[in-house]
Symmetry: C2
């Protein structure tokens, strides 16, 4: 580990990125117990997390948001009985209670009007980023939503067998899809992504992907490919996007990123060259920033109004961790 990196990355003073907490017991060992599952589905206190497209159904009545709904709402929205997945079980005042997840198969506008018709309380479809940014849900509920959203997206896009083209059906409480024609079994997909703060002493390399809001610079990132180590993927992505050579790579932390089903692998990397050459079409711009400039971006007082992504992202955590570790050293 290069000695300008933080010695301890589990410093509790550093705020956590979103989606990293999930209090559910996934109860994986009970997923193929059909009788137990049927009993859980009949429980009056079972919670149903409902995903419509890429947004969860949220109850906004009362003093806080709720993402667990009664079975009656799921039924009124026409959830297919064979397409309900078990997220897990959790402690409740009435004992251990199950939390399920299901997709609502209709256009968002239809769902919004169905929702109004189905319930007196105020239900809304709210996108996952807004829910994380607002901080109006308990942290554990964001992790639970990440699990639900990634799983729901996988089911939505895997109704057919990739081996033979036949329709598939849900198995193992939602953690498998089986093909009745060729007998292939398919498992949920999680896509590893490297995301890296590339530094050279007190300078850091950050770029501006086209999709970002104006003035935002962030760490480079990219999907891992077959047959790669994390270190190789970091070096390849930085070379492709910025033309910069990377030496030592240090893994720092991971984050589930449910857009739709990524596993972010956060790293620090030591630059071995300085000249930037924009390669693929990912980045609109890429620059070296001084520690002072990055600190100003974090604090929202950069003279040109540049800033970094919000604290819900692992990018923010990597950027802040680097700035704070350098500050510690010069204190």
């Amino acid at each position: 580990m290069p000695d300008d990196y933080p010695a301890s990355l589990s410093d509790s003073a550093i705020r956590e990125p979103a989606y990293c907490d999930n209090m559910l017991d996934r109860a994986a060992l009970r997923r193929d117990d059909e009788a137990w599952l049927a009993g859980q589905k009949r429980r009056a206190d079972a919670g149903y997390v409902l995903i419509a497209g890429d947004r969860p159904v949220v109850a906004v009545g009362g003093d806080r948001l709720t993402i667990r709904h009664p079975r009656a709402l799921a039924e009124s929205l026409g959830i297919a009985a064979g397409e309900i997945a078990l997220l897990g079980v959790e402690e409740s005042p009435s004992g251990e209670r199950p939390v399920f997840c299901a997709r609502v198969n209709a256009a968002a506008e239809e769902i919004e009007s169905d929702i109004e018709a189905a319930s007196a309380s105020s239900l809304k479809l709210i996108d996952m980023r807004s829910l994380a940014l607002q901080g109006a849900l308990p942290l554990g509920d964001l992790g639970l939503l990440a699990q639900a959203r990634s799983l729901a997206h996988w089911h939505a896009t895997h109704g057919f067998c990739s081996r033979c083209g036949h329709e598939t059906r849900m198995a193992q409480a939602g953690y498998r899809r089986d093909c009745p024609s060729c007998s292939a079994v398919h498992f949920p997909r999680t896509d590893p992504v490297v995301i890296m703060m590339i530094t050279d002493g007190d300078k850091a390399l950050m770029g501006r992907p086209h999709r970002l809001a104006e003035g935002v610079y962030t760490t480079l990132a990219g999907f891992m490919e077959p047959g790669e180590t994390i270190d190789q993927a970091v070096r390849r992505e930085v070379m492709e996007e910025a033309g910069v050579r990377v030496g030592a790579v240090t893994f720092a932390r991971s984050q589930p990123w449910p857009f739709p089903a990524s596993l972010m692998l956060g790293c620090f990397g030591q630059a071995e060259s300085r000249e930037i050459r924009l390669g693929d079409d990912e980045l609109e711009d890429c620059r070296w920033f001084s520690r002072e400039e990055v600190a100003a971006m974090l604090a929202g007082r950069h003279p040109q109004g540049l800033h970094v992504p919000p604290p819900i992202s692992i990018a923010h955590w990597l950027i802040r961790t680097w700035v704070e570790s350098l500050s510690e050293k010069t204190r």
Copy 2:
């Protein structure tokens, strides 16, 4: 990081697991340049890595094994022109030369007889584990084979669109499959797997999965699920398989594991309970081993003939790294 873990995990004295070296430039930025690709395919020095089922075609004539074959062999084995993927480019005496990968679509016996008919040299299908264990290929070629094998397996199992069931076709030099019916684009799949040496002072937790050879004990491991961090996956898997509670988790290194397309995420984990309760059907047995016992297993001198997996695996690396770090401390 618990203080009985090694301070530096990049100690060069520790031998590397297999498949972690790959000297190819993947040339990702040129994958959609059709004219360039066509030119590369026509080059006389282009190498073709050929995968039949799950085994590569290997030329065993001469003083070393060869996995790059001339285009003529690929053609004689009936490779479809639209199903050739670019692994990358590499330096050669004649300049930068491309390496392609293709699947042979026939039963192994047929291929073996076709191979004999097609070539005077001695060609064989050799499984990937044997190739790694024998050490008869340059290290970089094992990484290249891992890339080829994972990619070939993905193509072999994704000929149909998982969204609509229509046939798909290869795009982007093999790094995408497109559906001409619903316009979905599909990317190669890489499955993250946590693999962890769980310890409590000078004791380590290892298990015996049913599939392993007699007498072998190894680190616990399991596929990550949607919406998990690495730490959560480590804790869930150890609880499911052994009923042991895990606290602090430290990521150590990654390894591509092409059986068929895993990314091994090697970790150390601190046990917070000792009682073992076998949970799922993964393990036939699971025990706590002392450092002395594990050292004896590594050295092949355990009194009951127990041993650990071979050095090609990240399990071996985790086990040896732990034993050596404890030895250092008591020296």
